[in-house]
C-alpha cells in the first residue's frame, strides 16, 4: 500500500482499518438490529389496528385514518423524525425528554404503520367475497366471519409483503443517525472521521452489512410469496 509509509496517524493498511473499525461497525449493526426489531413490532400492531379500523369502521373513522395515512405518506420520514424529536419534550413526560431512542422508534413505527395498514386492508379485500357470503349464509355474525374465515386467509397474504416492510424499516433506521443514535451509519461516519482516506472502504463495509441484513429478508419474502401468494405492497 502506498499509505504504509505515510507520516501521521493514517499509517494503517486496509486490513488494519478493517480490523480496527469492525467492532464499531458491528456495534452499530447491533443498534440497527434492535431499532428495526422494536419498530416492526410496534409498527405492525399500530398498522394492524389502523388497517382493521379502516376496513370495518364507518366512513368517518375511515376518512380520518385516510388523512393520517396520507399525511405520513406525503411527507419525508426525515420530517417526521425531526418533528417528533423536537416535539416530545413539549409533552413534558420526564423520560421522553430529548431521548433519541424513543423518538426514533415512535417516528419509525408511525411511518411503518401506514404500510402495514394498507397491506391489511388489501389482504382483507383480496379474500374472495364468496367466502364471507358463505360464512354469513351459515349464520355467522360479521365478527365471527372476520375472525374465523376472512382473517386466517388474509393473514397468509400479508406475510410476504411484510418482508418488504421489514426491509423498508431497516433502511429507514439509517436516517435516525441524524438525531444522534449510534446505529450503523453513525458508526460508519465515526470511522471515516478517524480514517478519512479509507472512506470508500468503510462505506463499502457499511453497505455490505446492510446488504447482509436485508437480502435474506427479501429472499425469504420472495419464497413466502410463491408459497402463500401475496397482495401488492403499495409504494
Amino acid at each position: 500500500m502506498l499509505s504504509a509509509g505515510w507520516v501521521g496517524f493514517g499509517a494503517d493498511t486496509m486490513v488494519d482499518v478493517i480490523w480496527i473499525t469492525m467492532p464499531f461497525l458491528l456495534a452499530g449493526l447491533w443498534m440497527t438490529f434492535k431499532i428495526s426489531l422494536v419498530t416492526i413490532l410496534c409498527g405492525s400492531i399500530l398498522g394492524f389496528a389502523v388497517g382493521m379500523l379502516r376496513t370495518v369502521g364507518g366512513w368517518l373513522v375511515s376518512a380520518t385514518l385516510g388523512i393520517y395515512i396520507h399525511a405520513l405518506r406525503g411527507t419525508p420520514f426525515l420530517v417526521h423524525l425531526y418533528v417528533i424529536y423536537f416535539m416530545l419534550p413539549a409533552l413534558k413526560i420526564p423520560w421522553l425528554q430529548f431521548e433519541a431512542f424513543p423518538a426514533a422508534v415512535i417516528a419509525l413505527s408511525l411511518y411503518t404503520s401506514t404500510y402495514v395498514a394498507e397491506i391489511v386492508r388489501a389482504a382483507i379485500q383480496a379474500v374472495p367475497r364468496g367466502q364471507s357470503e358463505a360464512a354469513r349464509s351459515v349464520g355467522m355474525t360479521a365478527a365471527q366471519c372476520m375472525w374465523h374465515v376472512v382473517l386466517p386467509q388474509a393473514l397468509k397474504l400479508m406475510i410476504p409483503p411484510m418482508g418488504g416492510v421489514y426491509v423498508i424499516i431497516i433502511k429507514g433506521t439509517s436516517i435516525v443517525s441524524v438525531i444522534g443514535i449510534s446505529e450503523l451509519v453513525r458508526a460508519g461516519e465515526h470511522a471515516t472521521q478517524r480514517h478519512p482516506r479509507e472512506l470508500m472502504l468503510i462505506y463499502g463495509m457499511t453497505a455490505l452489512m446492510y446488504f447482509a441484513y436485508c437480502y435474506p429478508v427479501l429472499r425469504i419474502a420472495r419464497w413466502a410469496e410463491t408459497k402463500f401468494g401475496s397482495v401488492r405492497l403499495p409504494s
Binding site: 406525503g74 411527507t75 419525508p76 420520514f77 420530517v79 425531526y82 439509517s174 427479501l218
Partner: protein, 227 residues
C-alpha cells in the same frame, strides 16, 4: 390566541418565505432531473433484465438487488464521497451532481421493476394475435404492447415518483439546499423546530397532493380506455 403563536409562530414562518420557496423549487428541480435519469436507467435495466443474454440479465438483477438491499443514505455517501476517488471525471462531483446521480440510480432500480412488470403484464396471447395478422416486432411494440403497458405502469410509476420526491430530502445530508434544508436553516437560525418542520411538511404535502390528483386523473382516464 397566544398559545397558537407559542406552538407555531406564523410570523416567523412568513419571514422565511423566500427560503422555503427557494427550497421548494430546488426540491422540484432535483426530483425532476432525478426522475428523468431514473426512468432512463430503469428502462435500460428492464430491457437488460428481459434479454436472453445471461450477462446483461445478471448485471441488471445484481444492480436491482444491491439498490434494494441498502439504504439510500449509504448510496448517497458512497457516490458522493467515493466516486470522485475514481479518476473518471478528473474533478470532484459537486453535492448537487452526487445527490442527483444517487437519487437517479436508487429510483432507477425500482422503476425498472415496475417497467418490467408492465411489459410482462401484456398476455402472450395478444402478442400472438398481433403476430397472426402479420405485425412486425416494432409494430407489435408500438401498437399493442407499449400502449397497454404504459396504462398499467403509470399509477405505480407516479407512486414511485412520490417516493423519489420525499427521498430527495436526504441530499440535504451532503449539503444540498432544498426544501428540508430550508427547514434546517430556520432551525439553526431561530431554534424554532415547529415553524421549521411543520412548514416544510406542508410544502411536501402540497407536492404530494398534486401528484395524487394526477394519479387519480390518470387512473380514471386510462381505466376508461380499457372499459
Amino acid at each position: 390566541m397566544d398559545w397558537i403563536l407559542d406552538f407555531y409562530n406564523y410570523r416567523v414562518a412568513v419571514q422565511y418565505v423566500p427560503e422555503f420557496t427557494r427550497g421548494m423549487l430546488a426540491t422540484i428541480w432535483i426530483s425532476l432531473v432525478s426522475l428523468v435519469l431514473s426512468l432512463t436507467i430503469g428502462t435500460v435495466a428492464a430491457i437488460m433484465r428481459m434479454s436472453a443474454n445471461p450477462v446483461l440479465w445478471r448485471i441488471s438483477a445484481g444492480y436491482v438487488q444491491a439498490i434494494r438491499s441498502t439504504p439510500l443514505l449509504i448510496q448517497i455517501y458512497v457516490i458522493y464521497f467515493s466516486l470522485p476517488a475514481l479518476p473518471l471525471l478528473g474533478r470532484r462531483l459537486d453535492e448537487l451532481e452526487g445527490g442527483i446521480i444517487a437519487l437517479g440510480l436508487n429510483a432507477g432500480a425500482y422503476m425498472s421493476e415496475i417497467i418490467r412488470a408492465g411489459i410482462e403484464s401484456i398476455s402472450r396471447g395478444q402478442i400472438e394475435g398481433a403476430q397472426s395478422v402479420g405485425m412486425t416486432y416494432l409494430q407489435r411494440m408500438r401498437y399493442v404492447v407499449l400502449p397497454q403497458a404504459f396504462a398499467n405502469v403509470l399509477p405505480p410509476l407516479l407512486g414511485q415518483t412520490a417516493v423519489l420526491i420525499k427521498d430527495s430530502s436526504l441530499v440535504s445530508f451532503i449539503g444540498v439546499f432544498e426544501l428540508f434544508g430550508a427547514g434546517l436553516t430556520v432551525l439553526s437560525e431561530r431554534l424554532m423546530p415547529n415553524e421549521a418542520f411543520l412548514t416544510v411538511a406542508v410544502g411536501y404535502l402540497a407536492i404530494y397532493g398534486v401528484m395524487l390528483f394526477f394519479s387519480n386523473y390518470a387512473q380514471r382516464r386510462l381505466g376508461g380506455v380499457r372499459g
